[in-house]
Structure formats: structure tokens, C-alpha cells
Subunit: 152 residues, 2 copies
DNA sequence: CATTAACTCTACCTAGATAGTAGGGATATT
DNA sequence: AATATCCCTACTATCTAGGTAGAGTTAATG
């Protein structure tokens, strides 16, 4: 299960990404719309700002807008930001690789092989679907198995 | 990431499943082979026995064997047993369904839609690959998208 | 029939994560 | 100057992961 924090982040991002050009939205408004605890949401929005995804305007009539275009922000990136590596095993993570303490041979490890397959399948989707895709309701494009579109 | 407990369970199961017909293996032997804390492993094996997957023989020269054939035990089933629902959102779980507190319409929820796709992809693999498949090193069979083979 | 090697069960412990709450401080608009 | 907004840090309660510990039960074997 993904954390509440990550889920709130997605809700907030989709609200910001759906904004008409030139408009902003306040943390209070996002919190109200989605019944998210306001102070908790503020922390999340701050994280998103520090990550360079959102931009903020302070003071009266301030609020948030996207800094990066919504079609460059993938679900995988956000999930990693809040919940850490997507990989089911440390030995399968590129960003946080660590061998299993007891593993003798990764190449022969059946667990790694099986979970590697499951991980590939879900990673291809999460790293290639963006906020813009989600808002457009676009169906997933058929995958060739060689995507690198948004994978850093 | 999957828990250590689940990972240990997979290692233990693969050791038991790989046993020649008629042989048993002790918890101590499994623990030694994979450098798993012995008492911790005992709890895990007990869970697997209570779940009806392993069978035990007590007393001197006791040990464990498979109760269910290894080609009927899927990775998904074991993972659910130790780490709970595979679904990334409660509203996507069949076994532990719960609506999101704040969700107004599941049908329109972009988060649910996107994670649903990722979940489907990995669930199809985890629920259709068995211990026997893993030991055989068999490549995944092409999936049609309509599998129900081992999904209870 | 005592010994011993195994499984069985229950209780307990600690560090860290999750999901917030709280209270102010900084800043820009009006 | 007032006010609405974002910014930052500290704190807390609860739960979970990952074990440790110890005693009890059972069955083979010499």
C-alpha cells in the first residue's frame, strides 16, 4: 500500500495540474476539496516545492502552480519521492541498490528473478504515465518493453 | 519493498519444494543455509504450516515437507500471507477492499485508475508464477490479460 | 524408558516509520 | 497596518518490522 502522504501528494498535484493557465490554488483550498488535514498538506506541498515540481507564491492571494509541466512528472517519480524505492527487493533497485545480506548469487536467485518480472511490469507503467496523462484519461499506450521515456 | 519475513518465507519454501520425494528438511538446516535467524524462521514456518502449505514432522529426525504441491503455491499467495494485500490502494484490493475516506467517485479517480493498471500488471505475474515455476527457471508464459489460474 | 533433537507456542523488546498536531515566523497584497 | 498566505521546526501517539527468549510438546532411538 502506498502511504497517505503519497496519496495526498497525488491529489494535490492533480488539482494544481488541472488549473487553467495563469491561475493558482491555495493549500487551504486543496485541503478543503479533498478533506486532507491542512497542516499536514502544507508539509507535503513544501516537499514538492523543494523537489522542484511546484512553485509557490507567498503572501495574500498566494498559492501554488506547477513549476515543471505536468507531462514531465511521472507517477513513479512522485511515489519514489514520498515512499522511497519502488523496487520490491533492494537488489532490484537502481537508485537504492543493496545486495541481500545472505544472497550468494543474484544471477541464480529465484526470488530476484520472479520479483524482477513483476517489478518491471509495474515500473514501466508508473514511470511512463504522467499527471497530464492521468488528467486526460488517456489509455496507456502499448509498451514495447524498451521504454526509457521518463526514467531519469 | 517486501518484508524480510516474506523473503525468508520464500527462501524456506524453495528449499522445501526442491527436496527429493520423501525427504524432509529441518528448520535448523534451512536457517543455516540461508543465514536466517533460527527462532525467527521457526515462527515463519509455523505460519506456513497453519496456512496449510507446509506439513511438519515433530520429534527427532523431524522436519518439513510440502503439504500442497509446489505448482499450486503462487508468489502472490505467500506475499499476501506475510505482507498483507498486494494492492497499492485499499480501493483496489479484492480481499481487503476499503474505499478511500475522501474519495467521491472511484470510477473517476485518476489515482485509482493509474495504480490499477500498475497493480494489474504485477498481480498477473505474482499470482500466476508458482514455486515450481521458479525452481524450473521457466520463462514467464505470455499473458493474455484474462488469467485466473491461481487467483482463488 | 531416558535422552535428545526436533517442532510449538507465547511473551517480550526496540528502533523506526506513519500520520499527523502545534505554533509560530516570513512575506506579499490590499 | 492588517491579513492571508506560505515556510519551518518541533513534538507526539500509534503501529510495524525484525527480531530475542524461554519454556513446552512430541517422537525417534539406544
Amino acid at each position: 500500500m502506498i502511504s497517505n502522504k503519497a496519496k495526498y501528494a497525488f491529489r494535490a498535484l492533480l488539482s494544481v495540474a488541472a488549473l487553467p493557465e495563469g491561475e493558482t490554488i491555495t493549500s487551504a483550498e486543496i485541503a478543503r476539496r479533498h478533506a486532507i488535514p491542512h497542516k499536514f498538506l502544507e508539509q507535503i506541498l513544501l516537499d514538492l516545492k523543494k523537489a522542484g515540481i511546484l512553485e509557490s507564491r507567498r503572501g495574500k492571494s498566494g498559492g501554488y502552480v506547477m513549476l515543471r509541466p505536468s507531462d514531465t512528472v511521472s507517477f513513479g517519480e512522485i511515489l519514489r519521492l514520498f515512499d522511497g524505492p519502488l523496487a520490491p527487493l533492494p537488489c532490484l533497485s537502481r537508485q537504492a541498490y543493496r545486495p541481500c545480506d545472505e544472497c550468494e548469487s543474484e544471477a541464480l536467485c529465484e526470488i530476484r528473478r520472479e520479483f524482477g518480472r513483476a517489478y518491471d511490469a509495474s515500473r514501466r507503467i508508473l514511470d511512463n504515465r504522467t499527471l497530464a496523462d492521468a488528467l486526460a484519461g488517456a489509455p496507456a499506450t502499448p509498451l514495447t518493453g524498451k521504454e526509457e521515456r521518463l526514467v531519469g
